[in-house]
């Protein structure tokens, strides 16, 4: 059996590992457009701050070699003949029995008057990270456009490297998707205490230049002279190949519950896939490492002939520590529509927010106290009926014993209790 995987990121490598576990004799080929395959993308900001050595980025030494996978990189598939089942590269053709599209996503470069594409830094790939690490010098001023996950991580990394950082976020507070205003209000002072300036509620109107210095002008007229501009305004899935192939796409590749696309023997996993958010019922295109790994594992299982339904995920599914404050955000955390029942508690730096819809827990936002978050996340992901344990959830006193002690009369006798 010949498996070909287009993309060497989280989903592609997870799929390779899973395929090798399920089928020791198969042929696996990974085609990647990057010059570095199988690294930990979320660690990229550490290239700027902690200067992590190379081996921390790479997967366990020799992983890909141990998996006996052929790696073709850097290479871009021009097209795929889905009838003859051949992936066409400039240098050669690669036939497949089952194909996995794991082409990931790319950073969006915003269109702003005066902003030149070549002067903007993004933080998506390893080479992006190296480029920014080399350009960023202590004492420089940096403006980061976008106060989401990447923007804030970039801000902390550049601040650590000795730069003076300003983050411009167009919505009312930082991490507008993962946090509500109360959560942001806890984290914001910690960021400001590090000297990071946050400009929320304003957009960048224009960028002008004065010699080597750039001037970022907001739509309220404020000007921020700087040496570096980083764009962290989101990512978009790489869908060109899928669309060229005729695979069904919407905002992402459309898949069934076995992660199969509309074309036989073609599967998809990772940032390119459009999923249904189990907490809200809305479709979304995922962008997290964890989801990509889960999808890679699941797609591989299906490709290898062991059917497995994808357990589903949430569009908000993030854990990150910001300036010493742990945060975990899962599911429908805003809870602003009338169908939601919201329970929030805040004292000092601790914030617990649980959002219910009918009998289900659909959202959880935890700041500082993140203990046992996984138990609540599992209830959200499984859409479990939590009416019996609602009080324990609201007081965040749930633990696994609650599930184990539900003994039936039969098991009670057997257990001798």
């Amino acid at each position: 059996m010949r498996y070909v995987i287009i993309g060497g990121g989280a989903a592609g490598v997870a799929a390779t590992q899973a395929l090798r576990r399920l089928d020791t004799n198969c042929q696996i080929t990974i085609i990647s457009g990057e010059d570095r395959v199988g690294y930990y993308r979320p660690l990229i900001p550490h290239l700027i701050s902690d200067k992590f050595p190379e081996d921390r980025f790479n997967r366990a030494a020799g992983l890909l070699a141990d998996l006996n996978a052929e790696i073709v990189n850097p290479a871009k598939a021009q097209s795929v003949d889905t009838r003859k089942k051949i992936v066409k590269l400039p240098q050669k053709d690669i036939p497949y029995d089952r194909l996995l599209l794991a082409t990931g996503s790319q950073a969006i470069v915003p269109t702003i008057k005066g902003l030149k594409a070549e002067e903007v830094f993004t933080l998506r790939s390893y080479s992006d990270g190296i480029k920014l690490a080399q350009a960023a010098k202590a004492g420089m001023q940096a403006v980061i456009i976008g106060g989401g996950r990447v923007g804030i991580k970039a801000a902390l990394a550049l601040c650590e490297a000795g730069l003076k950082v300003t983050v411009v976020e167009m919505l009312g507070h930082i991490l507008p998707q993962q946090f509500d205003a109360a959560a942001a209000a806890i984290v914001t002072p910690a960021l400001e205490a590090k000297g990071i300036q946050l400009q929320t509620g304003w957009q960048v109107k224009e960028v002008t230049h004065r010699g080597k210095k750039k001037n970022v002008i907001l739509d309220n007229g404020q000007e921020f002279p700087c040496d570096l501009i980083v764009a962290a305004v989101g990512v978009k899935p790489n869908l060109e190949l899928a669309q060229l192939m005729g695979v069904g796409t919407d905002r992402g590749i459309i898949v069934n519950s076995n992660l199969q696309t509309s074309i036989p023997d073609v599967f998809a996993a990772g940032d390119t896939v459009q999923l249904i958010d189990v907490a809200t019922g809305q479709s979304f295109v995922s962008g997290t490492w964890t989801n990509a790994v889960d999808m890679g594992n699941c797609a591989a299982s299906n490709m290898a002939g062991v059917p497995q339904k994808y357990a589903g995920s949430m569009s908000i599914y993030n854990a990150v520590e910001i300036a010493g404050i742990p945060t975990i955000s899962v599911g429908a955390i805003h809870g602003q529509s009338p169908q939601y029942e919201v329970h929030g508690q805040r004292w000092d730096n601790i914030y617990h927010k649980f959002v219910f819809q009918g009998n289900r827990l659909v959202g959880m936002l935890l700041i500082t106290d993140i203990e046992k978050a996984g138990i609540y996340k599992t209830l959200i992901r499984e859409g479990a009926d939590v009416s019996q344990i609602k009080g324990k959830i609201i007081s965040k006193t749930l633990n696994y014993a609650t599930f184990l002690k539900q003994l039936t009369p039969e098991t009670k006798q057997y257990a001798g209790v």
């Binding site: 997870a14 930990y40 660690l43 997967r59 742990p326 978050a373 996984g374 138990i375 633990n399 014993a401």
Partner: protein
């Protein structure tokens, strides 16, 4: 492969296992020493209470470990000798994705080191210290088939009492 099994009905909630776990994962390896240390050694199993029930919740070292899949830095991996899922504090960046992932709530945090802390099946020992220290033998370290056999024999020994002729 051996696993830690829990005989819930034997647990008195004394938490000796938690204490032993902390001492084993300390520098000083003594009771008083462990609690004076920085960083404070953290427990990796939890005797949870719910009403009258006292149930030790241990890491299952899952075959398809959610914590391993969620780890964004490669800190969590599988020890091929013991099959244990272990977290390497030198690679951990303290993002807490593993805490978000674990359905049992058994991943702990070292507040001082800002790294995750989880059961490692005590690699330096023949059997985990929690199992060895339990005064009622509520924790058992053995193969699944052996544990199953133990349960069957225990039940068979009492079954004749339930039969009324």
């Amino acid at each position: 492969m051996k696993e830690i099994f829990v005989r819930m009905e034997h647990c008195t909630g004394c938490k000796t296992c938690e204490l032993a776990c902390r001492i084993e994962h300390s520098q000083s390896k003594t009771l008083f020493g462990a609690f004076m240390e920085t960083p404070m050694p953290r427990r990796r199993l939890f005797v949870e209470m719910d009403g009258d029930a006292k149930i030790p919740i241990t890491c299952r070292h899952c075959e398809d470990a959610p914590c391993l899949n969620a780890c964004i830095s490669g800190a969590i991996s599988r020890d091929l000798k013991t099959n244990a899922v272990v977290s390497n504090p030198d690679k951990c960046i303290g993002c807490w994705s593993c805490i978000m992932a674990c359905p049992y709530g058994v991943v702990n945090r070292s507040l001082e080191r800002r790294v995750s802390v989880k059961c490692d099946l005590c690699p330096g020992r023949d059997s985990p210290v929690c199992v060895d220290s339990c005064p009622t033998k509520a924790l058992v370290y053995t193969e699944p088939e052996e544990f199953s056999r133990m349960k069957r024999q225990a039940y068979a020994a009492t079954a004749h009492q339930a039969v009324k002729v």
